[in-house]
């Protein structure tokens, strides 16, 4: 186009050398448009407007599901959406979910509040491994809860780890077996080894005397590896801390699942199973709104609650009060007090992911 247009912009007879310069990148200095371009543009506008007309017709149809799907095809990445577009998307989703689940569903789009940086702390000594947080999370966040493989999704994992012991009768054990001269026998007894932990423990009662428990979920890293690898930039860190996913832009490539060092992300391999009566109608766009098949999901610190100053669901049900949540920018918040007063560590701190999820102990 540029080469074609240049002769018109610069008459050859006046300043031939000036015409060899390429067309300016400055839009103000652009060449006058040809009638052909105007024609194409008009044609484009016409077809676009007809498409939008169809979309408008579709969105007004009675089937909220179809309208929402149609609308979602033309939707931008959540971060690029204007307030009007967000409101439109919200309305569309509310209609769709309300129809699908037979109750009034709200889809919140509240933004991050200034002066808030969410932080989480977990008392590793107090956790009794009862898994109430796991199931509270499922009740709050509308995860798939079917029975067939891949249909049951839980965001929190509770890891049971054996307590190590040093005993006299094991003094001779170790490498080489029977002699234990190289590593000293007892050194091979497990003492809280993460990779040999159990996820599927099911004793009569917890806590067991010979075990410790370590719940793991998304750490909401300050430098999240999952965000770095996302090819469509659908997952990102919100201004108040949590790493969120715009489910509509997720292509299900699972790069983030591979990148996450904390095993925090889950994928909906199947169509999510979410019974109507169990569905939580209070949702957030970036949070617990029902997901579709083929998208990745994870903990987002209950954005639908925490954006309105409510504790996350897992914090509220922990029977031993091991889970703590607060604003890291507020020196009076419980998490700030913990960071100030207790012995705190981050999981896999050596990876420089800088989690905002802290483990502590008394």
């Amino acid at each position: 186009m540029t080469i074609k247009e240049t002769p018109q912009a610069c008459p050859a007879k006046e300043h031939p050398p000036a015409c060899t310069t390429p067309a300016s990148a400055d839009p103000a200095a652009s060449a006058p448009k040809t009638s052909r371009r105007d024609f194409l543009k008009a044609g484009g506008m016409l077809s676009l407007s007809s498409l939008m007309g169809t979309a408008a017709l579709m969105t007004q149809s009675d089937d909220a599901e179809a309208a929402a799907e149609w609308g979602e095809h033309f939707q931008k990445n959540y971060r690029l959406m204007t307030d009007a577009e967000k409101a439109e998307a919200r309305l569309r989703l509310e209609r769709r979910y309300s129809q699908e689940y037979g109750k009034q569903v709200t889809v919140d789009t509240t933004d991050a509040q200034p002066g808030v940086l969410m932080g989480y702390a977990l008392n590793i000594r107090k956790c009794i491994g009862c898994r109430r947080c796991v199931h509270a999370c499922v009740a709050e966040n509308n995860q798939s809860r079917g029975t067939r493989p891949g249909e049951k999704i839980e965001w929190i994992q509770v890891l049971r780890m054996e307590r190590g012991e040093f005993s006299k009768d094991k003094m001779g054990h170790g490498y080489p077996e029977g002699l234990g001269i190289q590593v000293g026998g007892n050194a091979y007894t497990p003492a809280g080894q993460v990779l040999e932990g159990q996820y599927h423990y099911a004793p009569e009662a917890v806590p067991e005397k010979d075990a410790t428990y370590m719940p793991i979920a998304c750490m909401q890293c300050e430098k999240p590896p999952c965000v770095k690898v996302c090819p469509v930039r659908t997952t990102y860190r919100e201004a108040d801390g949590p790493v969120v996913i715009d489910y509509n832009w997720c292509i299900g490539c699972r790069m983030c699942m591979g990148a996450c060092p904390y095993w925090a992300r889950r994928i909906n391999l199947t169509t999510p199973v979410l019974p109507k009566e169990e569905m939580n109608p209070v949702t957030h766009y970036l949070g617990n709104r029902p997901r579709m098949r083929g998208v990745v999901e994870k903990c987002h610190w209950c954005l639908q609650r925490t954006r309105h100053d409510r504790y996350p669901a897992c914090v509220e049900v922990c029977p031993v009060g091991a889970r703590k949540f607060g604003n890291l920018l507020d020196p009076e918040s419980e998490v700030s007090k913990i960071l100030e007063r207790k012995n705190v560590f981050r999981l896999k701190a050596e990876l420089n992911t800088f989690p905002k999820f802290f483990y502590f102990y008394d």
């Binding site: 009862c130 007894t189 009662a205 917890v206 009060g321 703590k324 607060g326 604003n327």
Partner: protein
């Protein structure tokens, strides 16, 4: 109205049949009828069994106040964190909290026997003594009546034999606890008593590090505070079977096994046998 008519009919029938017991019958008869009409209410325990409980109901259509675990009967999700709460009352160092922003669930509701304690038996005008005399050696005498009502008393597991009843309970006002000055403390504010010895825990609890609070997470927001006795049984805080100051619980179900896996025995295998 129809229901009311049925109840009246039932009551009238009972009244005519056995006049002398009419009052008792009236109370007894409508209960099964009401139970048949409405489903059995779901009650779940909050922190530990035997402490505070919550009854499931709907706040608005499709949104319950609490979700209970079908496996263990534990509260799993709060729709309304402030249900059934009252203001906590004065707490030292918490004055900066706005009025009514610290609420607790009254323990006195759960402790059904409590109103009786101070009036029926421990009223200070008992048959044996007026004013009541307490054993000089500060050793509780075995009391079958008391032990039948509160089984944990037979083997008090608190303080390793160095404390006795009157260190915590008020001498003459038995439906109250006692602080350092001998002043009565409500059962709804056990922290004022427990903090006498467990000061470090009280400090952490006050700052939200120890124990549990639900509701609004901002530092001045409205929260329901769980008091000491909602999580700890003061008569049985030390127990050899567990390794923490919290009673053992049945855990919730374990996660789904990976596709094609029959059990989770692989988790029990160690790379090096021991």
């Amino acid at each position: 109205m129809k229901k009311l008519a049925i109840y009246t009919l039932v009551a009238a029938f009972c009244g005519s049949a056995v006049y002398a017991f009419s009052a008792a019958d009236k109370a007894a008869e409508p209960a099964p009828a009401a139970a048949a009409a409405a489903k059995e209410p779901v009650v779940c325990f909050e922190s530990r069994k035997g402490a505070s409980e919550i009854t499931q109901q709907e706040i608005k259509p499709g949104l319950p106040n609490v979700k209970c675990s079908p496996t263990t009967g534990a509260a799993l999700w709060y729709g309304d964190p402030y249900e059934g709460t009252v203001p906590m009352g004065k707490m030292p160092m918490l004055e900066k909290l706005p009025e009514g922003h610290a609420v607790v669930k009254p323990r006195s509701e759960k402790l059904a026997l409590m109103p009786m304690c101070g009036t029926a038996c421990h009223n200070g005008v008992g048959p044996n003594a007026n004013p009541p005399t307490l054993p000089k050696d500060k050793r509780a005498k075995p009391n079958p009546t008391m032990e039948a009502m509160v089984p944990d008393l037979a083997n008090l597991q608190h303080g390793r034999g160095r404390i006795w009843c009157m260190d915590c309970h008020h001498t003459t006002k038995r439906n109250m606890l006692v602080d350092h000055y001998g002043d009565p403390v409500s059962f709804d504010q056990p922290q004022l008593l427990c903090g006498k010895c467990h000061g470090d825990k009280l400090r952490d609890w006050r700052d939200g590090i120890h124990g549990k609070r639900i509701g609004d997470f901002t530092s001045t927001g409205k929260k329901r505070w769980f008091t000491c006795t909602e999580c700890h049984n003061p008569h049985n805080v030390q127990d050899g079977a567990r390794n923490r100051g919290f009673v053992q619980l049945q855990p919730e179900p374990s996660p789904q096994l990976p596709k094609g896996m029959k059990d989770a025995k692989h988790e029990l295998m160690h790379p090096i046998p021991h």
